[in-house]
Symmetry: C2
Subunit: 190 residues, 2 copies
């Protein structure tokens, strides 16, 4: 399926756009490709885009003072990724985004998103609902952190995204779960 079709199907789930509206909406996106390992957003840099993943996979992550990495999100196809704090408040990136499996993405600048939102009520509706889904998912993950142990969270993640098991190294999954790679390894090799 074409990138345009993928985005169209994704948008249609949350908002009703006419073909003309969607064409106009789509005309603001720029297609880009990233190779595995390539940086997309680097901490400290200005941020001006958000990215809609067509194929491959990105991750957004934070590196603390001890150089330990924590993964906020794996962005699989039809997911969005960016540093939304930096994007909305026009500050420099405080997190990183990079590519973990050769990816095709559609970029939308912050300015274009706001323009589209104010021009097309439908588009603003779409982004409100998309953000709401993200908010609810983040709350669920917070609860899971407080309530469940590492093994439980690991199985939860794999049930949600079985592809991850073969797609990314276990050390990245550990960084998403918030445990060390050794602990993750021992869960099933006691």
């Amino acid at each position: 399926m074409e990138a345009k079709e993928i985005l169209k199907a994704h948008v249609a789930k949350l908002a009703l756009l006419t073909n003309e509206q969607f064409d106009y909406f789509f005309s603001h996106f720029k297609k880009e490709s990233f190779k595995k390992g390539q940086a997309v957003i680097t901490e400290g840099d200005p941020v001006d885009c958000e990215y809609f993943v067509i194929s491959g996979c990105l991750k957004s992550f934070y590196i603390n003072d001890d150089l330990k990495m924590f993964i906020l999100q794996f962005a699989m196809p039809t997911w969005w990724a960016s540093d939304y704090n930096a994007l909305y408040s026009h500050t420099r990136a405080s997190i990183n985004v990079d590519c973990i499996a050769d990816a095709e993405v559609l970029c939308l600048t912050n300015g274009d998103r706001e323009k589209l939102c104010s021009e097309l009520h439908n588009v603003e509706h779409f982004f409100r609902w998309r953000t709401n889904k993200g908010y609810v998912a983040a709350q669920k993950r917070l609860l899971s952190f407080m309530n469940n142990d590492a093994k439980h969270r690991y199985e939860e993640l794999l049930k949600l995204y079985p592809e991850l098991y073969n797609m990314v190294p276990k050390s990245l999954i550990a960084a998403y779960l918030g445990v060390s790679r050794e602990t993750l390894s021992r869960l099933y090799h006691p």
Copy 2:
């Protein structure tokens, strides 16, 4: 300050409404009062409102199978609270909301919010930005969970909301931080 003025000032931070628009917007809210300890949303019940806090304080929380409580959010004045998952997906509540300090709130039904959002582009803009702020805050809290120990998170919380220290029992703060009340107590009484 009047409830109406408080809401008006809050909305004005994120969206530009004319006086007429705001009056219309405000006319959909219903004022309600809750006493300390009173339930606002109960797990298993249908949810049809979100609540804007004028005074006092609510909490949203989850009770797990072992009857342990985890607090998702303290809702102080000018904060919103509800079960947004249930609200948006029309399912029954999976979390609870109750009152922890006698509170005055403004209720907005899900139907009215969606009606207002579709009638007034401005209002949809407001809710998109409000939700985005909530999303960014949830991601920050997730990172803090992965990165920081209990003491660090406690001090972070108190810096953000010093009122909480005297307003709510430490056991509730522990339930927000995701540690036992004993551990919280020992942080400063070693």
